[in-house]
């Protein structure tokens, strides 16, 4: 297991957003997390990435506890993420943006030519090279998400948490993004944990899927198993369809 979540709960006042959630992620796996709105998917991500402290339960990365660490420390241990509502450093050019991910933890004051090369390589990998000098704020949402991904990759993660990377993209962009994610996983060996509402994407990309509903895990299995699970259909469509 690269990542283990055990008995995780997160309460906001009286509301339990995540209830006693347990799951594991295998190294090199592509795991999907789905569930209706308010199921606790983003909350789970925010706890893993250090945005929130869990109310109870533990999070282990390669058998070391990471719950309660601050987000930058979690990133240093090897987890990078993207955000549900896209976040970019608006006034930076695309090149500078990715470079920032690369230099965030370097002790040196100067930027080496090796780092410049790596930025170019990442821009090419994510298909952003023609926007090299464009300001991040001027990109379309699809490319902002691409930029967020490239910047996350620049921090050399072992595991990527992708929060609705496909939301708002057109079918062609979804197709392209899926291809990029598959290559990140297969060529770079980075484990992916994906929260997604675009079913076509998550079913096509992930090897295993966890379904959350009201903060609890209600199903787990291959995309096919999950899609035919009556509890999942009930959670999404209501009782009469199950």
């Amino acid at each position: 297991m690269i990542l283990q979540v055990e008995g995780l709960s997160k309460a906001f006042g009286g509301v339990l957003a995540v209830k006693d959630l347990t799951f594991g992620v295998l190294p090199g796996e592509r795991l999907g997390i789905i569930g209706p709105n308010g199921a606790g998917k983003t909350t789970t991500f925010n706890v893993i990435s250090g945005e929130y402290r869990p109310t109870s339960g533990v999070v282990l990365l390669e058998n070391t506890r990471i719950d309660g660490l601050r987000p930058h420390e979690v990133n240093r241990r090897g987890i990078a993420r993207t955000f549900q509502i896209v976040r970019v450093f608006g006034s930076l050019s695309v090149r500078e943006h990715v470079l920032t991910g690369l230099i965030s933890r370097q002790p040196s004051l100067r930027i080496s030519s090796r780092q410049e090369d790596e930025v170019e390589e990442l821009l090419e990998f994510t298909g952003l090279e023609r926007f090299r000098s464009t300001l991040a704020r001027n990109l379309t949402t699809a490319y902002k998400k691409r930029l967020e991904l490239a910047t996350a990759l620049a921090t050399h993660p072992k595991l990527l948490l992708l929060d609705e990377l496909m939301a708002g993209l057109n079918p062609v962009e979804v197709e392209e993004s899926m291809e990029v994610l598959r290559r990140i996983n297969e060529e770079r060996g980075i484990t992916l944990v994906v929260v997604e509402h675009v079913m076509r994407a998550i079913m096509g990309l992930c090897q295993r899927i966890i379904v959350l509903h009201h903060g609890e895990k209600i199903a787990e299995g291959s995309p096919r198993e999950v899609a035919s699970n009556p509890r999942v259909i009930e959670a999404y469509l209501g009782e009469e369809y199950a």
Partner: protein, 328 residues
């Protein structure tokens, strides 16, 4: 063909900029030879305010943290330097760097808890800190002389130079060069800093703190570092002020001083270093021109600030960019 034409234009621009810079530099260097004492005196103050605005720009313009305490650190620097020389009997040249280090560390102690707050909450906290500092100046009679002020501060010790002879910092004209050299050093330092890796991390925090933290930047530590560097420079500026004016009074360091620095920086254009310096120069001179009606100045400044922010939120630097396509 097109590229050579373009590069020629770029190099022409560079020559123009260098030429203009040389003219400005010569102009500044020659001021003490022609100008009256009064003009020189005002210009020394303008240099000090320019150093304050530029160092404040590191925090507001590059790191995105609105603080109303810059004037307080300026005041702490002034009193610290004065007390080191008066009470401990150390020379100015020891007190000056020591003050910078002291204020840097002190600001770290203030910034560490205060910067846990974000945005307006942090701003309000710094505002009250600035007022607290003023009250300390006013009421610690034993230390600061309270409302009577602190007098008898000596100018920096002079020295002998091979060709120029004795350099006496008691002379207004010599002090002019000291203040100018300090300003150039501060701006040079900040210019290098904001273009370094560290400066890029500050800008990342300004642009999006949550994203910055998520890609591995220790935002809490870097915000405190930016706050401390900025404050340390303000403290050294205060030291120069103390040994220039040679009389310190709490009323010089009321909350309004911090406010003026914020206004100078905003009017000049944040995140440009040069804009805030220009803002400082303009504000200082207009303040002098309006000496006949001190109460009216605040109204004029409020109106000027609102007007410029309504029409060009990026300040004078933004207007320059509109006119010339970019900033130098």
């Amino acid at each position: 063909m097109v590229t050579t034409l373009l590069s020629r234009q770029v190099s022409l621009r560079r020559i123009l900029v260098l030429g203009a810079a040389t003219v400005v530099a010569l102009l500044f260097l020659s001021v003490p030879m022609g100008a009256t004492d009064y003009v020189i005196y005002v210009m020394v103050l303008a240099f000090l305010f320019a150093a304050l605005a530029a160092s404040y720009d590191l925090l507001l313009g590059y790191t995105g943290q609105l603080s109303f305490a810059h004037g307080a650190f300026y005041g702490i620097g002034a009193y610290t330097s004065a007390l080191i020389t008066l009470r401990a009997g150390l020379p100015f040249w020891v007190a000056f760097p020591l003050t910078g280090v002291f204020v840097f560390v002190l600001a770290g102690g203030v910034g560490f808890p205060a910067l846990k707050l974000r945005g307006a909450y942090f701003a309000v906290t710094t505002f009250f800190f600035a007022h607290f500092v003023y009250l300390v100046f006013l009421n610690s009679v034993a230390l600061t002389g309270g409302p009577l002020g602190l007098s008898g501060i000596r100018p920096p010790e002079g020295f002998n130079l091979p060709i120029l002879g004795v350099v006496d910092f008691g002379s207004l004209r010599i002090y002019y060069y000291l203040a100018l050299a300090f300003l150039v050093a501060v701006v040079g330092f900040l210019y290098i800093l904001v273009r370094s890796r560290l400066g890029r991390l500050f800008v990342a925090i300004r642009e999006d703190e949550v994203l910055a933290e998520s890609i591995g930047i220790n935002t809490a530590a870097y915000k405190v570092l930016s706050f401390s560097i900025s404050a340390g420079l303000a403290g050294m500026t205060g030291s120069l002020f103390a040994h220039f004016f040679r009389l310190l009074h709490p009323s010089t360091f009321t909350w309004m001083t911090s406010e003026m620095i914020v206004i100078m920086t905003l009017v000049g254009g944040t995140g440009t270093l040069f804009g805030p310096m220009l803002g400082a120069g303009i504000v200082t001179f207009i303040l002098e021109l309006m000496r006949f009606a001190p109460e009216l100045r605040f109204i004029v400044w409020a109106v000027a600030l609102l007007t410029i922010l309504l029409f060009e939120p990026k300040g004078l630097a933004g207007i320059a960019v509109r006119l010339f396509g970019r900033l130098v």
